[in-house]
Amino acid sequence: MLPEMIWLIPFFPLLGSVLVGLLGRRILRNWVTLIACLAPSLSLLLSLTCSWRLLSLPPEARRLRHSLISWVASGDLSVAFGFLFDPLSAVMTLVVSGVGLLIHVYSIGYMADERDYHRFFSLLNLFLAEMLVLVLADNYLLLFLGWEGVGLCSYLLIAFWFERPAAASAGTKAFLVNRIGDAAVVVALIWMILLFGSLDFQIVLREAPRTLSHGSFVATLLSLLLFAGAAGKSAQLPLYVWLPDAMEGPTPVSALIHAATMVTAGVYLVARSAPLFELAPVSLEVVAWVGGLTALYAASIALVQTDIKRVIAYSTISQLGYMFLGLGVGAYAAGIFHLMTHAFFKALLFLAAGSVIHALAGEQDLRRMGGLRGPLKITAGSFLVGALANSGIAPFAGFWSKDEILHAVYASGHHLLWVLGALTAAGTGFYMFRLYFLAFEGTSRLSPQARDHIHEAPWSMRWPLVLLALGSAAAGFFGVPPGSGLFQRFLGPVFPMTARETGSAVHVSGTGLAMASLVLSLAGIALAFRYYLRHPERPEALAARFPALYGLLLRKYRVDELYDQLVVRPTILGARALSGLFDSRLIDGTVDGIASLLVEAGARLRRIQTGHVPAYVLSILAGVVVLLGYVLAFRL
């Protein structure tokens, strides 16, 4: 009975989206709220039930599958609307629907004054539906449907305030940059059809080791194509540029889509395709290095940003880098574990930041905050929990998952990558607490109107904060003891056992490594404490001393400008050239020529058109007589 109901998990939000979207203008706002929040509640309830059923099965048999209807049937290829509920999907589904529900509730308060309230909730529900399709699909095509769906929703929600040019262009940017990765995924899917004749996870992942030899070129290219898509969706180097701009969207959107769920879709895709990546050591190496470099790179930009949401956005990119780092060294369960804990604390950080912005009537600049702990106690407290979790301070959630990744990196022999990760950890501690101190501690630098406006958030925004704070504090214990915790045992059967993973834990002591990264994080925090609470004048002095470096970081390594010069401008110039010469001269000229020819011919031929019906009849008859005569004389 239960497997047949899996499709309902994404269906409820879809229904909610359609109802809210179509009826939103006609029904009361309370009804919109009720429908929009009921949908994720039902999904969460249903996914909890399914997970419960999963736990009652023996570990090897933990798969619920159900094909709803056939979708594509073309020749030998057949793709169904098929859903798969295994431990990996379970984790993803629970995170998506759980965090999703909290953020829906949060949005009630946050979007209360919004004119297009129903549009927002309709899109949010639609996003949830697409995301759930993505994680519940049992084949690559359906996954890709969800993949594109969340991309669309992301675009629509970033550009939610489309009257603002910045929001509109940020949405477009996200859409276009994602397109690059998506194109790679499409190529990968077509190749899969050619190679395996199917897109079903089970078939593809079972056939891949048989068809492709270990380390073969095809396996490497195929997995790299998939990773290109993942890098686009999950904002990794070099396709990360859209995510900071995506902060133009409403803050709940940033929390849900651009921190907790959608951006982790790439991680999910790689984890889901783990058997394929296992065939390609080179690809895994690429994944690990891209992840590691992104982690450090984004963390370094986050050090100097002044927009509260942007700091968190770069932090997200950095943490996603950790996840890929974990996946790249074969620690899939650790990567997913970090995905889950990150969903909690990053959603929490965004929501808390949103609460600040809400309280200050839209103020986002850290330089005009400070001392907010007094008026915003709950926000400050929950933000502190999130910051500690993000910085990887024991015993908060981030510590356990990040430590496990770093441990796996070291154990797999990538010592240089470990150094990158550890440096990132220090940087993370610094920028998180720089943020915390600048916003909540110290002296108030508020503008007068923000000072007048300041108030703690309504209950609908406070409760999600508190619940997420609890999650951020405690979620890590699912992974204790490291390597063999509840979480790892639950996820274990999904992933292929790798030689590195099994052999490594034996001869490296985890405790020493954990201590090392913990100390680095604490050092970062201490530095932040020193610079931003004790000696607030120091950072500026430092910036003045190294203007080049500071400028580079503040301008985000000038990558946007670089892309603009390298890609955008040549494209626009080329298009302009084509439109000017080729289109307007050649094509338009041809078309105009044909048109004027017709006009000329029409002017001459119109004299035949007498408007006299009997004459027409006579000519028709003449035609009939001639044609019939021809047929009779020559064809019979």
């Binding site: 007498t610 408007g611 019906v613 009997p614």
Partner: protein
Amino acid sequence: MTATVPLQAYLILSAALFTIGVIGVLIRRNALIIFMAIELMLNAVNLSFVAFSRFLDSMDGQVIVFFVMAVAAAEVALGLAIIIALYRNKESVNVDEINLLRG
């Protein structure tokens, strides 16, 4: 019961009726009568259809005649409406006087 009247008899009758209809369309100038002559032509064709249907042991001809009748009904409804509209404007249904569509 074998048909003692051969198919050719029906076809010749059909051809004759059709030709009469064509003559009507050509020599009459009252739009209504032209219209009637067109109906006559349609009926002539129907007769061939039914005759073929009978002699080829197939039902398709009769089905098509049914469609022809349905479409003819639609055509008459529209045609008469047009003629009425025309009469309102021109006070005449003489096709020689109607040439609004002259190029």
